[in-house]
């Protein structure tokens, strides 16, 4: 009986969620009275194992197969390792790559899977908490099984910081290359271009609340008047109203301006991941329960189409007719 957590790396770097998995995994292992073991799969496994050797980790298994993430290698390696060490809890990151292998591993090992877990508690069974309906509610689930698999939401647990003294063991996985049906050919960085929103001191950022592309001149005028830079949440970029280099969030840019003015942005977790480091956050949103108000320092619960023109005029600009 043990807790096994799968670490994540990309392009030569261990990703933060790996250290968060150590914290969450240690918490669960303490609750269950078991060891916490990690797996490091692919890339510079020895270097990565040193990185994740943090306080609370008992054993780190290294699987020296391939450079970058490939779900075929991960699924085979995890299945073989699990067969050997028989974890009671298998923790994986709820990252893009985590969701590319966790459901398959759970199927193969016949484990119930709960994804995007934000909290858990042991009371006989494991009870996990997750969000639903876009974060409007939280739900708890009781898992009535001896063994189970969870994916853990990034940035929900603190990173384990203290150095540890885990045993590091090479695990010799037998990878069937002929069963790998995907080939990773490389990476591409997107969102380049003339504007770097990560350099801006003040960001005027817009979301779904802007409703129509035709309404964009209103916030463009505000940004101009304030000498600020315009950024946005995901739907604006999905709609093609602004280029990808303006997108703030998990799949876009992480920004840390002095002031972030979120206009018509509800504050989904993926968006918040990209802007919670702003010094001061101001929200303008009609819904007082929108999650953006959980992290905002100041707020105006009102219609952006009423407030923004007034704000433009305050600074001597002229609000465009929409």
């Amino acid at each position: 009986m043990t807790v096994l957590a799968i670490t994540e790396h990309r392009r030569g770097e261990v990703r933060d969620v790996s250290y968060e998995l150590v914290t969450a995994g240690r918490e669960l292992a303490d609750d269950l009275g078991t060891d916490l073991e990690l797996a490091v799969i692919g890339g510079d496994v020895e270097g990565f194992a040193e990185d994740v050797n943090r306080d609370g980790v008992d054993t780190i298994y290294t699987v020296d197969e391939g450079e970058e993430f490939n779900h075929g290698v991960y699924t085979q390696a995890i299945e073989q390792l699990a067969a050997e060490i028989e974890p009671t809890a298998l923790l994986m990151p709820n990252s893009v790559n985590g969701l590319d292998y966790a459901p398959s591993v759970a199927e193969q090992l016949d484990l119930p899977l709960v994804t995007d877990v934000i909290d858990f508690e042991t009371n006989g069974n494991l009870e996990v908490t997750r969000e639903q309906y876009g974060g409007k509610v939280e739900t708890t689930y009781d898992i009535d099984a001896d063994d189970y698999a969870l994916t853990i939401r990034p940035a929900e647990w603190p990173k384990a910081e203290e150095a540890g003294d885990a045993a590091i063991e090479a695990f010799d996985a037998d990878i069937d290359e002929s069963a790998l049906g995907t080939t990773v050919n490389g990476f591409e960085e997107v969102g380049g271009g003339d504007v770097d929103i990560t350099e801006a001191d003040v960001l005027v950022s817009i979301g779904r609340g802007i409703d129509e592309e035709e309404n964009l001149p209103l916030v463009e005028e505000l940004a101009d008047t304030l000498g600020a830079t315009l950024s946005s949440s995901r739907p604006i970029v999905d709609n093609g109203w602004l280029p990808k280099n303006r997108q703030v969030g998990q799949s876009g840019k992480v920004v840390t301006p002095d002031v972030y003015i979120a206009i018509g942005i509800s504050g989904a977790v993926q968006h918040v991941a990209g802007m919670k480091g702003a010094d001061t956050i101001v929200a303008i949103n009609t819904d007082p329960n929108a999650p953006i108000y959980d992290i905002a320092d100041y707020g105006i619960v009102d219609d952006l189409f009423d407030v923004v023109p007034e704000l433009i005029e305050e600074f001597g600009g002229e609000a465009p007719d929409l």
Partner: protein, 264 residues
Amino acid sequence: MKILVTVKEVAEVDDEFQISGLDIDEGSLEYDLNEWDDYAVEEAVQISEENDDVEVVTVTIGPERAEETVRMALAKGADRALRVWDDSLENAQFLDVESKADILAAVVEEEDPDFILSGVQAGDDANGATGVALADRIGFEWAAVVNALDLDIEAGVASVHRELEGGIEELTDVELPSVLTIQTGINEPRYASLRGIRQAQRKPLDVHTLDDLGLDDSVVESPVERTDMYEPESEGDATLWEGSAEETAGELATFLRDKGVVEG
């Protein structure tokens, strides 16, 4: 070539809502096609327009109400639709990833598609796991969170971009048959035309029970049980400026000037 697109009618919650028991009260919900699935349908329809002899079939697990959503997918260009439902699904507390994968796997066995497109996640449950679980179950290859797709039917390869975190995309070749989970923004979903809506009324929409698919009640059983649903306590301590738009804009302007980030 046959493309199967999994679609789900999802519930969107009003700003003001009530929880009754372990779910949100029906009166606070509005139903619509899952946003991610809209992009998956569009991607499939575009493939069918660019290639000869491509059939697009949608499948949904849902009650009769969901047919409105399914007809929308048909109006946008899907050829026919399947809906799976019966009393045991109606009575289930919720369907976990495994149950959905089981049901969809039975549909795949019947339909024998070459290619399956699914949304990355559903807007209500946000499991983000059904597509990959299905792929594993039916022995297809897969790729999760695809935001660009170039399909070479002859070579049997889908060249995709997977949208990783932080503005990085992974360029990957996926062998067919495969399941791709489609990310928003991959295309521009069309609006259904009036002609499309009229045609959709005549397109086949077949309903299957679990029994029709060779499954029984046990498929909905799950070791995972929902025990509570509640509104999270606001963690926020935001200072809210109140008053007319002129007053609140004035407060914000004063703040920005005091902060020294804006001149004027």
